[in-house]
């Protein structure tokens, strides 16, 4: 294909991506270095206060007021602020203070153990919104990834070993958590764990006492991670299941003739054959895990579990600060680039090798 024809074919698609992904990204970088405020001036306001008997007292006060332009609109000042937005988001000063804080003694002068010092450090660092969000985002990504790989592989092997007619219904049920709207999926779990809902009621009935799942950081975080595993395992399963269909049968038979056990066949033939699929799943899942949003929104309370995407969303909507949100967004993008760099380099080499 000639380059001219090629450009004509990819044109609309590239235009859409440049216009609505690349240009906005540049815009966000620009926003993140700026700020705006309404220009104010100090105005002298004279007011007369009636005293008594028709007498009035005139007072002069100095009051800040927005400057209005000729249309009566407040004048906005747009300024370059350098890294100030980044400072407010990532709070490097607070981070340094948290790290260098002296924790060798408790408040009443007792020496602290290593464990206590680490706990204190962890608490102070994650107290800063950005670092807390980063912590849970990475925690989520790195806990769910091995879980979905193991669980997905186990399911794929087991489904592959049952009789044909039952596989269809099995795959159907398995796909549900993956296909159904993430907000709805999160809610369906959330509604099971409300204080008076099914799980808490059942546990109480069986004598476990009253458990409040949604009032505690550890249980909320566990629920979000479990939701993640539940939501993404089907994806890993389907890919590995399809991969299993392509395992060369003659290699397996040769291994059996040589007396390889079931585990040896899994370990030395099947897993190496699926290696590329495992790294594909890791790549896609890291991307998706890094932008976890819906469960954090639904399980509520960024107090207990926050994610980077939720943090930016929060700044954008509730603090209504575009500039700070832009800085937070840029830090998020830098994070994903660092996280994906090794995987991207690998993809680059593989694709280059093919092309």
């Amino acid at each position: 294909m000639k380059i001219k024809t090629f450009l004509a074919f990819v044109g609309p698609s590239v235009l859409a991506m440049v216009g609505l992904i690349a240009v906005p990204l540049i815009g966000v970088v620009y926003l993140s270095f700026h700020s705006s405020y309404v220009k104010t001036e100090i105005v002298e306001v004279k007011s007369s206060v009636p005293l008594f008997g028709g007498l009035t007292k005139t007072t002069v006060e100095k009051v800040p007021q927005p400057v209005l332009d000729e249309n009566g609109e407040p004048v906005k000042v747009w300024e370059y602020v350098g890294g100030r937005n980044f400072d407010t988001v990532a709070d490097p000063g607070g981070l340094v203070a948290a790290v260098s804080k002296d924790r060798s003694t408790t408040e009443d002068g007792q020496p602290t153990s290593f464990r206590q010092r680490m706990d204190g450090l962890y608490r102070d660092v994650t107290d800063i919104d950005f670092w807390g969000a980063l912590e849970f985002t990475l925690l989520y990504a790195f806990i769910t990834t091995p879980c979905i790989l193991v669980l997905g592989f186990l399911l794929a092997v087991l489904v592959n070993s049952v009789v044909q007619w039952i596989r269809g219904p099995l795959i159907f049920a398995t796909l549900l958590p993956f296909i159904i709207t993430p907000v709805v999926g999160s809610l369906s779990i959330y509604w099971l764990f409300l204080d008076n809902a099914l799980v808490a009621s059942l546990l109480e009935q069986f004598g476990a006492g009253k458990i409040y799942f949604l009032k505690d950081a550890i249980s909320i975080r566990t629920l979000i991670v479990l939701y993640g595993v539940w939501h993404v395992t089907p994806f890993a399963f389907v890919i590995l299941y399809a991969g299993l269909q392509t395992v060369p049968q003659d290699a397996l038979q040769a291994a059996m003739v040589d007396g390889a056990t079931y585990w040896q066949r899994i370990r030395y033939i099947i897993i190496p054959h699926l290696r590329a699929l495992f790294s594909f799943i890791i790549l896609i899942h890291l991307m998706d895990a890094y932008r976890i949003f819906e469960p954090v929104l639904v399980f509520g309370s960024n107090l207990f579990a926050n994610s980077l995407q939720y943090l930016t969303y929060y700044i954008l909507n509730f603090e209504d600060n575009y500039y700070k949100a832009a800085a937070s967004a840029i830090l998020t993008v830098i994070g994903i680039c660092i996280l994906l760099l090794p995987v991207l380099r690998r993809t680059y080499r593989e694709q280059k090798g093919v092309a």
Partner: protein, 278 residues
């Protein structure tokens, strides 16, 4: 792979698969069940397996709160997104699969990076820009945004389908006097339907399931179903309102269940395609 699992593992298989199916389906089943109940029965102690049935929540949500309007909005947005996505995606996918130069490779790598972008990053720019341009809260805006966000994934997937169509087919058509566009429309597209259906399904899912972008770019009468759910779940803690949320969530789920029922084969094909073959 052969199906001979070691004998002692057979009962384990049944138990594990049974447990997994229960885990996968139960939250949805329970949601369906309680959506037809009075609030007291839905969150009762001890929990009830059977309770009187009522359609009250669905009536309130669909008729009184006008959920039908949001369903209509969702239909417009998803259909628009799927159509535009597939049109420009097929063109690009075909180009990428037939072009041998370096540029195509770089477009794919950059698309992969774009695929990783958290959507809220773009939203930070969209909000002030769309507001200033006065294209806030319009179907076209949401559709074109969803199309763009969806493009990286779409072109990767469509390309892997096009790669599997032998180039001899193109050459035969070109020799017979077709130009590139004619070849694409008359020769290649007719054998691409499985790929188009699969990719279309995923575009549909992305547009239908999107919460973040839709809830931010649309408001009032233009809200989509998924975005409208936030009206019910984040407003207050009254149980009646929560039950309306359950009915809304069930309404959103039903079309998806049918989608999986009818297109399971294509969804599996799509998920495995990129990984196994390309």
């Amino acid at each position: 792979m052969t199906t001979n699992l070691p004998k002692p593992l057979k009962p384990f298989t049944t138990a594990f698969l049974g447990f997994w199916v229960f885990l996968a389906a139960f939250p949805f089943l329970w949601m369906f069940l309680i959506s037809f109940r009075a609030p007291v029965d839905a969150f009762s102690f001890p929990p009830k397996l059977f309770a009187p049935i009522t359609l009250e929540h669905f009536y309130t949500v669909w008729i009184l709160d006008g959920f039908w309007k949001q369903a209509l909005n969702t239909t417009i947005v998803t259909l628009g997104t799927v159509t535009v996505s597939l049109t420009i995606g097929c063109l690009a996918g075909y180009g990428l699969s037939r072009y041998r130069g370096n540029l195509g490779f770089w477009i794919l790598i950059i698309a992969l990076v774009f695929r990783a972008m958290p959507h809220v990053v773009m939203l930070v720019a969209y909000k002030p820009a769309f507001w200033a341009m006065g294209i806030w809260n319009r179907y076209e805006t949401l559709i074109i945004v969803l199309v763009a966000i969806n493009q990286p994934f779409t072109i990767w997937m469509l390309r892997s389908f096009f790669v599997n169509i032998p180039e001899e087919l193109d050459q035969a058509a070109l020799v017979d006097g077709c130009n590139r566009v004619q070849t694409f429309v008359k020769v290649i597209m007719p054998v691409m339907w499985p790929g188009v259906i699969t990719t279309g399904l995923f575009s549909f899912l992305l547009a239908y399931n999107d919460f973040l972008i839709s809830s931010q770019l649309m408001s009032g009468d233009h809200m989509t179903m998924t975005a409208a759910l936030s009206n019910y779940i984040f407003s207050d803690d009254s149980l009646a309102k929560l039950m309306h949320g359950v009915a809304g969530a069930v309404s959103i789920t039903i079309p998806l269940i049918f989608l999986v029922l009818f297109f399971q084969r294509y969804i599996v094909a799509g998920l495995t395609h990129g990984a196994v073959k390309g």
